[in-house]
């Protein structure tokens, strides 16, 4: 029967390097090249710049010596450390309580709270800063709460940072607290252990890695943040704003590079600690653990509910203030409703054009970034051979987490704006913004991809190869569809971050490629506070709509996929 009708497999002679293996190698090299050009070369160029004078001659550590002899600059180190530490303590303690409420109590309205708590991620970090000025500034309606202290400075910075970092901490701690083993709690109860001792001996040790990891992530986000201190810092300078001031204000690129190197240190340190912790965490929870289920306890449940909703209330207040400020004539003198701040006419900053550019950037990064990052993760996880290349790619994929946006942006100037760089044409284009944003947010997407790929059967590729199906067919027909939820998560993460980020791109736009987040900064600098608020709200709403679309799409796709995910 089939003997005559089906083309039989004919083994090729001496096919030691198949075209497929060659294609695989080329794609792998392309992935490596992307991160070498988009990350390694710029960083190395920046490190070299910090050791050169204006003329480009090597002067050793002279720039660093000058830095440490300038009190105005050195003070920023202590400033950055103190606000970052305060923000870390505030955020992690609040987030821990809320995460505990979500995972370990029967408090009502968990789902609603989680939705509200995620909102700050959708806004640029400039938004809370603007709202705080309206709330606590010289003419703010809650000014008296500060009892004479100024919001412009460490207080405002800590509050603003706490607002937009909170969702990150909450997600990390919720995950950590979800991984519980009911058997331990049952054993403790059977032994008559008091609740507080159970908490100290079981709950805390169980989440210690998650907690430490969360502390470092929050600290890094706080110390590298640029948006909040830029808007509300006043005379209180921190490292991130120093980079901006040295480069944009004083055109002192060498000193900008020095500050960047110093800003890189705490981020690299916390990156190393975090990787070290992740490695130890692997065997924490055995596969036989039974998840712990909370039982109702009205006093505890309602206490946590009140706390959580107080936090959610603050989040809504901050966002609501920005929305309100963008829709009234002139605070605090004329409170009548208007949409004129949304016209952005004659104010500079780019107006709706900037918003459109941001949209273009966000869609490009989401589309290109998702494909590139997921495919690279697939090459690292699921292909054979070229081990050093794959390990190198993995290392470079982990690195962006340790590079603050300001540092990456400045490094791009140094590298791409060099005379004689064949990639010089990229400078000032939308393409460089896409590349920069893609690299800036690479690591989280990479980790999400790797986690998703690790859950797949390791033999899919081998089966495909044994059936003589090229690897790209198996990738597109099986791997990609099965990993679709993770892929969608990555794309929406990239979209929202591209929409809201300001730190790296503030160095890289030109008049044709102004971005909405940069426009917020410029409108605020120029004193058009209501328009700045309007632009920030616009960014927030755009992210919100995309996030809602993503949720709906994921829901539909998962529903369809249920056909094969659960027994049909």
């Amino acid at each position: 029967m089939t003997e005559r009708t089906l083309p039989r497999f004919v083994p090729k002679r001496s096919a030691s390097v198949s075209p497929e293996a060659l294609i695989r190698l080329l794609v792998l090299l392309a992935g490596v090249a992307l991160l070498v050009v988009g990350l390694l070369f710029p960083l190395v160029t920046m490190l070299i710049k910090s050791l050169q004078d204006r003329a480009g001659d090597f002067i050793g550590l002279a720039n660093f010596i000058r830095y440490f002899q300038t009190p105005a600059l050195v003070n920023s180190i202590a400033n950055s450390l103190s606000v970052a530490l305060m923000a870390t303590v505030t955020v992690v303690s609040l987030a821990f309580i809320c995460a505990y409420g979500i995972t370990r109590t029967c408090m009502p309205g968990k789902r609603l709270f989680r939705m509200l708590a995620i909102l700050p991620i959708l806004a640029p970090s400039l938004l809370p800063a603007i709202s705080l000025v309206y709330l606590f500034g010289n003419q703010g309606f809650l000014r008296d709460v500060l009892a004479g202290h100024s919001i412009y400075g460490p207080i405002g910075i800590v509050m603003g940072m706490s607002f937009w970092i909170f969702p990150h901490a909450l997600m990390l701690l919720t995950t950590a607290l979800t991984n519980s083993d009911a058997r331990l709690y049952e054993a403790a109860e059977a032994l008559g252990t008091p609740k507080w001792r159970t908490f100290l001996t079981i709950t805390l040790p169980g989440v210690r890695y998650g907690l430490i990891s969360c502390l470092f992530v929050v600290f890094t986000l706080a110390i590298t943040d640029f948006g909040v201190p830029k808007i509300i810092g006043g005379q209180f300078s921190v490292l991130a704003t120093d980079v901006y001031r040295q480069v944009v204000g004083q055109q002192n690129f060498q000193m900008g590079a020095v500050v960047s190197v110093i800003l890189l240190l705490p981020a690299v340190l916390s990156f190393i600690v975090d990787r070290w912790i992740q490695r130890r965490q692997v065997a924490q929870l055995s596969a036989r653990a039974v998840p712990w289920q909370p039982t109702p306890s009205p006093l505890r449940d309602w206490s946590f509910a009140l706390l959580c909703y107080a936090v959610a209330g603050i989040i809504l207040l901050v966002i609501g203030t920005a929305v309100y400020a963008s829709m009234i004539q002139f605070w605090p003198y004329n409170l009548s409703f208007t949409l004129q701040h949304y016209t952005f006419q004659g104010l500079g900053g780019g107006g709706w054009g900037a918003w459109f550019n941001s949209l273009k950037l966000a869609f490009s990064v989401a589309l290109i970034g998702t494909l590139v990052i997921f495919f690279n993760a697939w090459l690292i996880e699921k292909s054979e051979g070229y081990r050093p290349l794959r390990q190198g790619l993995h290392f470079m994929a982990m690195l962006p987490m340790a590079v603050p946006g300001m540092v990456l942006g400045l490094a791009y100037i140094f590298f791409f704006n060099q005379a004689g760089n064949p990639l010089n044409w990229l400078y000032g284009t939308m393409a460089i913004l896409v590349l920069n944003t893609l690299v800036h947010f690479y690591t989280v997407c990479h980790l999400t991809s790797v986690t998703a790929l690790k859950q797949l059967d390791p033999e899919f590729e081998a089966v495909g190869a044994s059936l003589k199906v090229p690897f790209w067919t198996t990738f597109s027909r099986v791997t990609l569809p099965v990993s679709l939820p993770a892929v969608l998560d990555i794309s929406v993460y990239l979209f929202v971050n591209a929409m809201t980020t300001v730190s790296a791109v503030v160095f890289l736009y030109n008049s044709d490629t102004r971005l909405a987040s940069v426009a917020v900064l410029h409108l605020d600098e120029a004193g058009y506070f209501a328009s700045a608020a309007a632009m920030a709200v616009l960014i927030f709403l755009t992210s919100l709509v995309v996030k809602l679309l993503h949720t709906a799409l994921t829901h539909v796709l998962l529903n369809n996929a249920q056909r094969w995910r659960l027994a049909g």
Partner: protein, 374 residues
Amino acid sequence: MHTTMTSLLAADSPTVMTPTTPHLRIEAVTKQFGSFTALDNISLTINEGEFVCFLGPSGCGKTTLLRTIAGLARQTSGTLIQRGNDISTQPTQARDFGIVFQSYALFPNLTVFNNVAYGLRNRRVDRARITARVTELLALVNLSGSEQKYPAALSGGQQQRVALARALATEPGLLLLDEPLSALDARVRGHLRSQIKALQARLGVTTIMVTHDQEEALTMADRIVVMNHGVIEQVGTPAEIYHQPASAFVASFIGTMNFLDVTVNSATQVQLAATPFTCQPHCLPVGEVARLAVRPEVVALTRQAGMLAGEVTDIEFLGAFQRVTLRLLGTDQTLLADVPSRDSSELNLRLGQTLGINIPADAACLYPAGSNPL
């Protein structure tokens, strides 16, 4: 179902070649992972149409050898020749085989039909022919009517058969099975064992199966390759492996085996405690300490204490027979003997009883003392 099978048989039988034509020659294959040697100079020939089992404990290198044949692992040195072609450096895609993994690795988002058709789609075969082929294959593995189901809706045994159909769809010259039954429960396993064996015999496809289950290997294989620590301990038919184990390792790995410490008296005689005992000719030096291997089922117990006697210390009821543990008189060695149920009443078995022991000379093998069973 049956008619399909016969029509397949008729069409395929001309391709079955005489069993002595070599299909795959493995020559001096060595595989190293860093300083660890997973395969140590393996040479083996597998004939056309043969069903060969790689058997051994976990970590013995059997799966590595299978993956090397598939091109999924690259040998450090050595040559692989399939039907006269040197495939040593060929990538997986260029080699002619189908494979079924322990996990089946069925594509969860594709239907049974699309899973089986996966390899056919790539060959520019028209739809009608693909449909016909898939229908035929599903009939062959007894899964007609499941075309539109997803793998998650199937039982483990059914998934296993879909994986088998998918591997056979492109008519590979060689079928590789990597512990295909170990994820199934005992009853399904027994049933599938005979089904796979029958299918293989009918299609005549050269098959290599990796397993750690000796029963599986003994019942299915034409030849068994027993492996340990990256080397081949013995190659032979199931009967050869069972009755003439080439080493103490093989003797202890397959079935149950008594090992008794003895001293060599001559080329055909050993001394077991105070008793001289005739055994098969061997070439161990006289006076040497050695190990005598005896299967429990060849040990005969009698009521008259003969030259060799033992005291019953334990009786285990195993249904068709009883396994009796005896302490050999005059030594501290123990011996297991399987007594068929109908003989046990005759013996009137009870604890503490002393019984005579008879071991036929041709049923005992002798191994050097240093050799390690398991």
